[in-house]
Structure formats: C-alpha cells, structure tokens
Amino acid sequence: MNRLTLLTGMLVTSIISLALGSPAHAAGGDYRRGLEKSQVCQSCHGRTGNESLQPSYPRLAGQHEDYLVHALESYRDGSRQNAVMAGFAGNLSDQDIADLAAWYSRQKGLQDLDVE
C-alpha cells in the first residue's frame, strides 16, 4: 500500500511538471523582459508595435507569437533577407527572440481576416 501511494505520488508529480512546462522553452518568452529588450526595436516599430516609423515597416502588435519567433529566427539565419533586420536579429539569443515575441504579440493591433 505504501509503495502504491509512493508510485501514485510520483505519477501526479510528473503530470504536474509536464503541465507546467519548462520555463526555458522558446514559447515561454517573458513579455516584461521583452519590453526591456525592445528599446532598439522601438525606434522603428514603436513601443507597442503599432507605431511604424515608415509605412514599409510592418506592424507587430498582436501578431502571432510563434510567427514573430519564426521571422526573427529567419532574419538571424539569413533565410529571410533584409539588411536592417539582419543586423539586429544577428545579435539575438533564442531567449531574446522568445521575450520580444512575447511582448509584441501581447499588444492590441493586427486582426485576423474575416471569413464569411
């Protein structure tokens, strides 16, 4: 009976830790750190990602978090080519990218298309 209780306890513990997830996971960006790290981004995209300096720069506010991660990774590895973004993304760690994506994706802005 003791052994059964122990096994049950271990099972419950592992389910809980699975559900909570690992804090280092890329999807677990910290939006507060993202805001702190976004000073350089803000000069072109604005604080919330709605205030583009040029109309040729995209709005970022409310964009899907995982798309923002993909875009920054693509600029960093060169598979998406843009001279300005290559310079900035090249200096970002995986955690920086996760944090920045967490910040901009949480702002109110972009919308889904309506399907009628």
């Binding site: 583009s52 993909h70 972009l110 298309l113």
Partner: protein
C-alpha cells in the same frame, strides 16, 4: 487637385475588388491559428497591416527574393493591380474593427 488622398495615408487600390482577390488568401490567413508546417508556426495576421509592407512582401515573394513555396506560388499569379487591391482590403480590416 480634386481628389486628394487622406492625409498621412498612402493607401491605394480598391478594397472591394481586393476582397474578391483575397478569397484564396483566406484559405490560410482567414482561419484563426492556422499553422504553417515544416517548420510549424501560425500563419501571420494580415488585418490592419501596413499597406506598403504588404506590397513589398508580395512583390518579394513574386520575385523570389523572399522564399516560401506556397506564397511564391500564390504571388506569381498576382498583377501589380491585384497586389494594390488585395493589400487595400487587408488594411481596411484594421480600420473597421479598431
């Protein structure tokens, strides 16, 4: 001097016609949280995006300087007028709902 564009807006194109052109786009971009695969990520939201950015993105796909198999195939079928109209439609979505 008769018809001046609204101040601060360089929006061009016909959003009504653009909505028709955009029908194919909604197959991926109109479904919330629709995923690209290999690699997996959500297809980007387009509603309310800046028109000049969208124009440059579509032209880059059409020219092949920005790579994505599905987007390159789609953009290859678009004329300059299609691109103006469809992006005008995407911009208009943000104006309606904010």
């Amino acid at each position: 001097m008769i018809a001046l564009a609204p101040l601060g807006s360089s929006a061009q194109g016909d959003p009504e016609r653009g909505k028709v052109v955009a029908y194919t786009c909604t197959g991926c971009h109109g479904i919330p949280f629709y995923k690209n695969i290999y690699p997996t990520y959500s297809v980007p939201k387009l509603g309310g995006q800046n028109q000049e950015y969208l124009i440059s993105a579509l032209k880059a796909y059409r020219e092949g300087t920005r790579r994505h198999a599905t987007m390159q195939a789609q953009a290859a079928t678009l004329s300059d007028q299609d691109i103006l109209d469809v992006t005008a439609y995407f911009v208009s979505i943000g104006e309606n709902e904010s």
